[in-house]
């Protein structure tokens, strides 16, 4: 297992500087540059539970470029959120533990940093925008206080300079009348405005990477649209890389440049957003995209994925998706752990007979079966 993933990592490094920039939104060009700002290699996060070890993140490799939005898509239990928390080293330990891999940001491996150094990275170089703005904000502190806290810690500003920076951050997220809003408390703001405040805290220290963990699921559609547009504008202005964690392919279609689809703790497919929508190779990706009803046309009966997402403490030994796959394959085909291979330029897929219909076309790429 280890060998196949490692070779995949190396191949991926070689290729990571050659992706074309793609415009994925209707409001301006994409700000993707070639500079890789965050490089995650073979990340493994395990949880010890009374049912056994849960491999929530099981050898995940990806990178984010300056100004790029990487979408990490998956269902609950796919490991998409734990992946993000692991980058920030916020996985509760025990029961969680990052058992392997590297997270390279600005030339340093974050997993090697001391807790003290990590504090300045969190909210500084990497910041996170969480799902529920009501839980992310403390109800007893004013907006000024909460936006200012991050700025004080990371930039050491005081007095007038601090106030200016707070107002500036609020202005960047298009909060009207930022001077008076700064004096308000969270309950005085609407849901959309609160989520903007969380965004202001996120961008206040000019981060290199923002992790957005389903930031719009609790918002109404029109407020969601305004917020997504805002994120995109901030990205263009600041050139920040965004990791967008979501289960919604609509958000992927609108926001992301590149997509990694996760299933049972592993990436099963990764490619630029158009390839994912136009030529998905993995059965899971195909099924996920086609099982969503379309607004644009009246569709016939939706194709559905049978079965349930797997329980992570009880994963099948090889291809985790095999029990839900509709392809014909033998038990041996499914028993081998499929390697993540680059089958076409910049298009990675977890190749196995049990989940890739075009397996025969790429079978020659499979590494020899000498390990396990």
């Amino acid at each position: 297992m280890a060998e196949s993933t490692d070779s995949a990592v190396e191949e991926k490094e070689l290729i990571s500087s050659a992706t074309a920039s793609v415009d994925t939104d209707g409001f301006g060009t994409s700000a993707v540059s070639e500079e890789v700002v965050l490089d995650v290699k073979n990340l493994q996060t395990h949880f010890t539970t009374r049912w056994g070890t849960v491999k929530a993140v099981d050898g995940v490799t990806y990178h984010v470029k300056r100004g790029e939005t990487l979408g990490i898509v998956g269902e609950s239990g796919s490991g998409k959120s734990v992946t993000a928390l692991s980058l920030m080293r916020l996985v509760p330990s025990p029961p969680g533990k990052i058992v392997g891999g590297e997270v390279v940001l600005g030339g340093r491996n974050l997993l090697d940093l001391s807790e003290h150094d990590m504090t300045s990275v969190r909210g500084g170089e990497i910041s996170i925008i969480l799902q529920d703005p009501m839980q992310a904000l403390n109800p007893v502190f004013s907006i000024e206080n909460q936006v200012g806290e991050a700025i004080k810690i990371h930039q050491g500003l005081k007095g007038e300079a601090l106030w200016d920076k707070i107002v500036d951050s609020l202005r960047k997220v298009r909060i009207p009348a930022p001077e008076s809003r700064a004096k308000d408390y969270p309950h005085q703001l609407s849901g959309g405005m609160r989520q903007r405040v969380v965004g202001a805290i996120g961008i206040s220290s000019a981060p290199v990477v923002i992790i957005a963990d389903e930031p719009t699921t609790s918002l109404d559609v029109t407020i969601q649209a305004a917020y997504l547009r805002l994120l995109r504008q901030i990205q263009q202005e600041e050139g920040v890389g965004i990791i967008f964690i979501t289960h919604d392919f609509g958000i992927v279609a609108k926001m992301c440049d590149r997509v990694a689809v996760m299933y049972a703790g592993r990436i099963v497919e990764e490619a630029d957003v158009r390839t994912i929508f136009n030529e998905p190779l993995h059965e899971y990706t195909k099924a996920l995209i086609s099982s969503v009803p379309k607004l644009e046309e009246k569709t016939g009966r939706l194709p559905q994925i049978e079965g349930q997402p797997p329980l992570l403490y009880n994963l099948p030994p090889g291809d985790a998706f095999a029990p839900r796959s509709t392809l014909t394959f033998t038990a041996e085909d499914a028993a081998r752990r499929p390697p993540l291979l680059e089958v076409k330029p910049n298009h990675w897929v977890q190749l196995s007979k049990s989940s890739v219909a075009d397996y025969d076309k790429y079978a020659h790429m499979m590494p020899a079966e000498d390990e396990d």
């Binding site: 415009d23 939104d25 559609v221 407020i223 969503v292 379309k294 939706l302 994925i305 349930q308």
Partner: protein
């Protein structure tokens, strides 16, 4: 369908219930008093959650209610289920007014209208086994013996895609999708004619949503069920619903056949909702337009058109519809919209094309 629409009048106030409808809602209001009127003095302040809503749910069809949070769609559903008492207005079931029905008639109505709720994690009692959860309505409302109930529960579970032997398990032993199936089995227990679905798939995983939506469609065909679907996801509504209404601030702004509305959304608010909905492909760029301001409070809304504070157009404060509630007007067969000088997308020069413009 078009002929049916001409007899069933979704928005016209005061019109008698139509024969095609299993449920007819007429001029339904739910106002909550939130202040004022101390000991009979002073002006009372009302939160108008639902204000003069009328629509028909036809037999064997699905009616969708869409709108943003606070628009009154869930209150309307609760009024139908009898979980809230209307301030005024009528709910007709099979042409009979539920509010003036005899006790026996009301019991029959309650059995015939069931509900499936949004969150399968909190809507099932964690201390009850599945057989008690699904069998409870049968115990209360029928004279079936324990043996008959057990058989019926087994049948209901297999019909909703579960195994009869799972009847002895507790809710926590199931995944979200399976729990929603338990909720559906329970709703089906008394052979209802109407099921109110309150965001039935939004709490579920993406790969499970299609399973549950297809199950609901299959059950509708098999049992001739009518659904009232409350949802905020427009794509779900287009997939599931035959007819729909768009609500804003307690008032229906546009209603009619689902396809008629999606093919030609007329109200500015409907266009704003459609333009803000997420695309199904990265090459679809819909032009977004955001309404000025935010959703205003439903406490003491404007006496006239409730939408007038959000329109991008000029509002003449002396116009009739700025001071009096405008009615729904049938602009094309089976397609009703609140028409004021500032509510029509065509007048504002706004027109959302669903497919947007393709390509980069």
């Amino acid at each position: 369908m078009t002929t049916a629409a001409s007899t069933s009048i979704p928005g016209a106030p005061g019109v008698n219930p139509s024969a095609d409808a299993i449920i007819s809602i007429r001029n339904l209001r739910k106002w909550y008093q939130v202040g004022g009127g101390f000991m009979g003095f002073g002006d009372k302040i009302y939160l108008k959650a639902v204000d003069d809503v009328s629509f028909d749910i036809e037999r064997n069809k699905t009616f969708g209610l869409v709108g943003e949070s606070g628009c009154g769609k869930t209150t309307t559903l609760k009024l139908l289920l009898g979980l809230e008492t209307p301030t005024s207005g009528h709910i007709y079931y099979e042409g009979e007014d539920v509010t003036t029905m005899s006790k026996a008639g009301r019991t029959e109505f309650r059995r015939s209208v069931q509900a499936v709720f949004q969150d399968p994690w909190s809507s099932l009692n964690p201390r009850m086994r599945v057989r008690s959860i699904v069998g409870e309505p049968l115990e209360i409302a029928t004279t079936m013996t324990k043996g008959q109930i057990a058989t019926r529960v087994g049948d209901l579970l297999s019909e909703t895609g579960l195994n009869p032997y799972q009847a002895n398990l507790y809710p926590h032993e199931f995944s979200g999708g399976q729990r929603q199936r338990i909720g559906i089995a329970r709703a089906l227990a008394l052979n209802p004619k109407v099921i109110a679905l309150d965001e039935p798939v939004s709490a579920l995983d993406v790969s499970i949503r299609a399973q549950i939506m297809n199950l609901l469609v299959d059950l509708q065909e098999e049992h001739g069920l009518a659904y009232l679907l409350v949802a905020h996801n427009l794509a779900t509504v287009r997939y599931m619903c035959h007819d729909m209404a768009v609500m804003y601030l307690g008032v229906v702004q546009e209603s009619g056949e689902t396809e008629a509305i999606f093919n030609n959304p007329m109200h500015i608010y409907t266009n704003a909702l459609v333009s803000a909905a997420l695309p199904s492909h990265p090459d679809i760029h819909r032009e977004e337009f955001l309404l000025p301001g935010e959703v205003v409070s439903p406490i003491n809304p404007p006496p006239g058109d409730v939408f007038m504070t959000r329109t991008p157009m000029e509002v003449d404060p002396n116009h009739k519809w700025a001071n009096e509630r405008p009615p729904l007007v049938e602009k094309e067969p089976g397609h009703w919209v609140v028409e004021t000088p500032w509510s029509m997308a065509a007048d504002a020069g706004l027109k959302v094309t669903l497919t947007g413009h393709k390509g980069v």
